[in-house]
């Protein structure tokens, strides 16, 4: 097997050299370019988090100055949201898998795909450049008038960086939508698509419909800083709350950009390692779409105490509860998929367990925040910080890690070391909860977020949180090391080590440049894991 891996031509060895990577239009190589870059951004963002947690060990602001601290959480948020989590699953796993799962040779616009990576890199360079030039201190939310008039940090540079990251995600979303509509293999009807594809379709809708609005909001802030065209300037009678509307019109749906693809990953993993078709396939598929659509109607829940009309607040609260229902449907369907399954404890499945539990906690605490009277108290406290890390780190990052492990054999042709995988999944889970659970308590106690120094009675919980963060950091470093190691030394995986059913597993690992030797013909729904279904799925 070892030998065959080298002899056979596949996308990794068709050509060598930097140029063959930087000018590639192969969606699989572009996915790896993205993987490398967002990993970098994750560790940069993580390093900022480490420094913050170190500062917060003591109540006094002694490690870094207040100014530095403000820059730390801003750049942590910007890096993590715009440059790591939003592109995480879609730009890496999505780029790699969307064409393969639908039996296409590439995305519809391969060169636009490459362009999207360059746009992303350009934005990232601006973001990092802003960090190098002293950083920004507005918070990742860029609220005016602080961002437009008062802050003297590199706001424009960072904002433009975020703008380009957004533009890159528009291009990705556009590519996915066209690809999914126009490039499906013969016989691959909509209800034969894997749920991963449904999730990415829903995500792409949000990318193209929401991102432009935050783009214009960012442009307006930049215009105000550069040319004093004060659209949000209160001195002219402009309304800073309007900026918040435009910002959250995108940034709430954006949280679903960050969770939907992760949900797609979980559907694939849970089905494969329970050897069951995903329970209630159609409901899960439609849940993705309805989350994407209803998700656009709830943005005002970030503004309950912002001076927004209380009536608008009530409308937004109501709609926020509606969006929870499809999420609940999904969780229940995954649980039902495991029922009477044949469950194995491979690393991806352990991450999926983690996802299910932590997403539930994060989502349910989201309901606390959608509840008006309670949000008045917990808004802008650590309760919020805990909520979104539970969903984004406990949910999305877990699913992302699970997905990377799940498709690692497909991507590299080699297996990662299973024991290490399980061990670090456990470390991540424990470290995570120790980091972020105390923050719920801190939040209800009233500790505001974005605080560089805090009253003494909050110290114990903060120390616990910082301790957890160091464990969590280790939990992320281990996979980083063994995954890189396995690219060279891992056991050859074979084409389909998990005996999974998706189209991507029906081709060799690593796949050839054009993905399939022959365009596959699909005749049955996905996830034919049960014995009697196995035969009828794919005919070549």
């Amino acid at each position: 097997m070892e030998a065959s891996l080298e002899r056979r031509e596949h996308y990794l060895n068709v050509s060598y050299g930097i140029k063959s990577w930087l000018l590639t239009t192969d969606h699989k190589r572009i996915a790896l370019l993205y993987l490398a870059t967002i990993t970098l951004f994750f560790f940069v963002g993580g390093a900022f988090a480490v420094l913050m947690r170190l500062e917060l060990i003591t109540p006094k602001g002694d490690l870094v100055s207040a100014e530095t601290y403000n820059k730390l959480f801003t750049m942590h948020g910007v890096m993590m949201i715009f440059f790591f989590l939003s592109p995480s699953v879609p730009a890496t796993l999505g780029n790699f898998l969307v064409p393969m799962m639908i039996g296409a040779r590439d995305l519809a616009f391969p060169r636009i795909n490459l362009l999207s990576w360059y746009v992303f890199i350009f934005g990232g360079v601006l973001g990092l450049g802003a960090a190098a030039m002293g950083g920004v201190d507005t918070g990742w939310t860029f609220y005016t008038p602080y961002s437009s008039t008062y802050s003297n940090s590199a706001v424009v540079l960072t904002a433009v960086g975020a703008f380009f990251a957004g533009f890159s995600s528009i291009l990705t979303g556009l590519n996915f939508i066209v690809t999914i509509h126009k490039m499906r293999a013969p016989g691959l009807q909509w209800f034969r698509l894997p749920l991963f594809i449904w999730a990415h379709y829903a995500t792409s809708l949000i990318m193209i419909l929401g991102t432009p609005v935050v783009a214009i909001a960012i442009v307006l802030v930049a215009l105000e800083r550069l040319f004093r065209i004060g659209i949000f300037d209160p001195n002219l009678g402009g309304d800073p709350v309007l900026f918040q509307h435009l910002f959250w019109f995108y940034s709430h749906p954006a949280v679903y950009i960050m969770i939907l693809p992760a949900m797609g990953v979980i559907s694939e993993i849970v089905a494969c390692f329970s050897r069951r078709r995903v329970f209630g396939y159609r409901f899960v598929a439609f849940a993705s779409l309805s989350i994407a659509v209803i998700g656009f109607l709830v943005w005002g829940h970030h503004m309950f105490v912002s001076g927004q009309s209380i009536y608008a607040g009530m409308v937004f609260s109501f709609l926020s509860f509606l969006v929870a229902v499809p999420s609940a449907v999904k969780v229940f369907n995954w649980m039902a998929t495991m029922y009477k399954g044949a469950i194995s404890y491979h690393t991806p499945m352990l991450y999926a367990f983690g996802f299910l539990g932590l997403f539930t906690v994060g989502g349910l605490t989201g309901l606390f925040l959608a509840t008006l009277a309670v949000d008045v108290h917990v808004h802008d406290t650590y309760f919020i910080v805990a909520h979104f890390h539970y969903i984004m780190v406990g949910g999305t990052v877990m699913a992302y890690m699970g997905g990377i492990h799940f498709w690692w054999p497909k991507i590299t042709g080699r297996l990662y070391p299973e024991a290490w995988g399980r061990f670090s999944a456990l470390i991540v889970f424990l470290g995570f909860n120790l980091t972020f659970f105390p923050q719920f308590l801190l939040g209800y106690l009233g500790m505001p977020r974005r605080y560089h120094a805090y009253p003494e009675e909050f110290q114990v919980l903060n120390v616990m949180s910082s301790a957890g963060a160091s464990i969590l950091g280790i939990g992320y470093l281990i996979p980083m090391i063994y995954l890189i190691w396995s690219m060279r030394y891992g056991k050859p995986a074979g084409d389909n080590p998990w005996r999974a059913t998706g189209l991507e597993w029906q081709t060799s690992s690593p796949p050839p440049t054009e993905n399939f030797e022959e365009t596959p013909l699909v005749t049955a729904p996905p996830y034919a894991y049960a014995k009697e279904e196995e035969e009828a799925t794919v005919v070549h």
Binding site: F283, A324, A370, L445
Partner: protein, 311 residues
């Protein structure tokens, strides 16, 4: 340090109890579902673990009944959350009559608080226990947020606009006052405390402190100095160019364009800064804007003066 280790915030206002009850309900629902889901994961993972490589799962693919059940039940639960949360919020957003009115002016990075009697404080607010207090808040620069955890209240404080909040303290003591909206370098230092006192003590504090003149008196002086009297003075009866302002506060005002608005603080503020936005029926839009000539504190004084005018 390790002895003072609270896990739950103090409850010191009339609305705190209601918010906490709702919170406990949410915690109960949340815990119920989370624990149920954690246990189910464990049970399924153990009971249905794969015992040998080729084990096949029992195939079945879905059940519309189940889907309906687990959509409708969460929907009903969330509707309870919505109804409870929204009605409490609505109740809590209306201040009772007869509240003490305290003006809050926020700026990077301090709170300036002005009592109607004239006492001014910075980063510290003294209030009597058992009396509703209404805060009328504005900012001189960026957005801040007035937050007293023990009272479970919070509201953003915006430039060029009034927002309000209210509370009625139920327990004497000293509580944290935080700025909860990120406002720049010293955001975390922009705090202080609220001191809740027995009413008698409070009276004493009011008279004992460095009492300035009351807001309304200062406002009256300004009213003359800025020349408002030229157009709004009862002395020049008969030929005043602007409407008389006595008894105006709280009354409905018919406007030139047919709308009727209530003369609240926001309206008074707008009338001074942007008089053309709402022109009173029967008058010409002659009043000049005073934007740029009056500070936030001046405005507060002018408004307190106009509010103090009786018919």
């Amino acid at each position: 340090m390790w002895t003072d280790f609270p896990l739950f915030p103090e409850r010191a206002s009339t609305i705190a109890g209601g918010v906490d009850r709702l919170y406990f309900f949410l915690v109960a629902v949340g815990a119920l579902f989370s624990i149920a889901i954690f246990i189910t994961i464990f049970v399924f993972a153990l009971r249905y673990r794969r015992r040998h490589e080729d084990q096949a799962a029992v195939p079945f693919h879905g059940s519309t009944t189940l889907e309906i059940v687990w959509s409708v039940i969460p929907l009903l639960i969330t509707m309870v959350m919505f109804g409870w949360g929204a009605s409490l919020y609505f109740q809590n957003s209306r201040a009772p009559d007869g509240a003490i009115e305290i003006y809050v002016v926020a700026k990077q990075w301090m709170w300036k608080l002005q009592h109607p009697e004239g006492a001014r404080e910075i980063n510290e607010l003294h209030v009597p226990v058992g009396r509703p207090v209404r805060l009328i808040m504005t900012s001189q620069d960026v957005i801040h947020s007035f937050y007293i955890p023990a009272f479970r209240i919070k509201n953003d404080v915006l430039p060029n606009r009034f927002t309000t909040a209210w509370f009625e303290a139920t327990k004497t003591g000293r509580y944290h006052l935080f700025c909860a909206e990120y406002c720049g370098t010293q955001h975390s230092g922009m705090g202080g405390s609220v001191v809740v006192m027995e009413p008698a003590e409070y009276e004493q504090w009011l008279s004992g402190g460095p009492v300035g003149e009351s807001l309304a008196v200062a406002g009256e002086r300004l009213f003359r100095r800025l020349g408002c009297t030229n157009c709004h003075s009862p002395e020049t009866k008969g030929r005043t160019r602007g409407p008389l302002l006595g008894g105006l506060f709280g009354k409905p005002v018919p406007l030139l364009d047919g709308r009727i608005v209530t003369a609240d603080e926001a309206y008074l503020r707008e009338s001074i800064l942007n008089p053309r936005a709402k022109v009173v029926a029967g008058y010409a839009p002659e009043m000049p804007t005073f934007q740029g000539q009056v500070t936030e504190e001046n405005l507060v004084e002018l408004i307190a003066y106009i509010k103090s005018l009786r018919r």
